[in-house]
Symmetry: C2
Subunit: 257 residues, 2 copies
């Protein structure tokens, strides 16, 4: 069994890209050119290009051409993301730090009362028909969407409070929760990696072949009651996730016999 022809075409292009022969932004030969170069039908060429697109290597601009994808990534620190910060709690560290670098951060806030998705309902320990207040934010840099930050609160806890209003909360939702008698005491962090859902593709203007990291934070009161579940969606082509290791001393305290 020989290698399928579309695989051969894809391999050639992949090699040209990883060797730097076709650098970021370079234009891929047009489909008719590849058809004659390899002596195949258009469908075969398109199968090859689709594969590379789904690997995130190519960006197609309809009517203009197909290009090697550029990627620039910013650092995301999950451990620091949710530490309150003087001055602008809800526009948190990530955005503030980027502003220092001369970029223009912005965000949109949208508030709704919804039946939560299954993964959220489970983490908030809600019953089948319990509702949540969700504050949906899309954070952008220089006008380009960068990540999604959706905070879910059990509706019973926050109804009628500021949290249910779609305005920026200057002192932070954490503070408001505390004033309502539900101070957060600890949190659980999870990150899963998957392909985006269609609504995420739309909100983040994701190209094909762009996976996302989903960082879910569940915050609990001292009594162990979950009071907030934050779903952060980070496009893979725009973020590097960094975190601090435990002190090396910790790692050394089990000497071998």
């Amino acid at each position: 069994m020989p290698e399928p022809r579309y695989q051969r075409i894809a391999s050639d292009l992949r090699a040209a890209i990883s060797s730097g022969e076709l650098g970021p932004g370079a234009q891929i030969p047009a489909e008719p050119e590849l058809m004659s170069r390899y002596g195949v039908a258009r469908g075969t060429v398109r199968t090859a290009l689709a594969q590379l697109t789904n690997e995130g290597l190519l960006a197609v601009e309809s009517g203009r051409g197909t290009f090697v994808r550029r990627r620039r990534q910013l650092v995301y620190r999950p451990q620091e993301e949710f530490r309150p910060q003087p001055g602008s709690p809800e526009m948190d560290r990530f955005m503030a730090a980027r502003a220092d670098e001369g970029r223009v951060p912005s965000q949109t806030i949208e508030v709704a009362i919804v039946r939560p998705p299954a993964e959220v309902a489970e983490r908030l320990e809600l019953a089948e028909d319990d509702l949540t207040v969700v504050r949906r934010r899309v954070r952008s840099l220089d006008g380009e969407p960068f990540n999604i930050n959706d905070s879910y609160f059990p509706a019973k806890l926050v109804e009628g409070s500021e949290i249910a209003n779609p305005a920026d909360i200057a002192r932070g939702t954490r503070q408001v929760l505390a004033e309502l008698g539900h101070a957060e005491a600890r949190a659980l962090d999870e990150i899963v990696v998957r392909m985006p859902q269609p609504d995420e593709v739309h909100r983040l203007a994701l190209g094909p072949g762009t996976p996302v990291a989903v960082h879910v934070v569940t915050a609990y009161t001292a009594a162990g009651r979950p009071v907030r579940c934050v779903v952060n969606v980070l496009p893979g082509d725009r973020h590097v996730i960094a975190f601090e290791r435990r002190r090396p001393e910790d790692a050394e305290q089990t000497p071998r016999p």
Copy 2:
């Protein structure tokens, strides 16, 4: 402009999957069935199925049928991954913990002297033609590959030592490095999310539409010299990444004015 027909087919199937009508493992209608149901040509049906496959929703078993993908994920703790452990340092915590759960861990080790990939060369601060010793491991559970763990060392530092031999090092490579006078003092952790490269697809037996998280650890001596670069490749459909937050006390020490 109406929605393309293949999009319509994909949306219908996606809805059936997310609503649970087509549960994990359920078989998707065969291509001829979808052709007659929607009155389209085979290519159109295949375009729709390809899209869902690239979203990681479908698993195709050639000759048998197309099915809704199952996923089961294990917890990966990047902060603990590299803490030495009594008994089996190189078969580290991840595998040991899984063994406690009644699963059967195994690993393959392969050692080579190679010109490092660009991302590794950069982190080890190597010159153009410097070589590295790489210890490539694939860790498996119950015979299924689970993740890749490739450790790169500057060849100059470890040539002739145990590290260049393809045997399990009972006391751990970290210990060997220390004996060679290059004790690790601190480390930098980075995680990026991307689609896998073809060799990774092969080594990990990844299905289409499976993104990976790449956890890169760069270890330095007290003098700041990089002595090891570990590239961990974690398939998105098999891992949940978890980590510990800093103490909440830290987060509270900046009271608002």
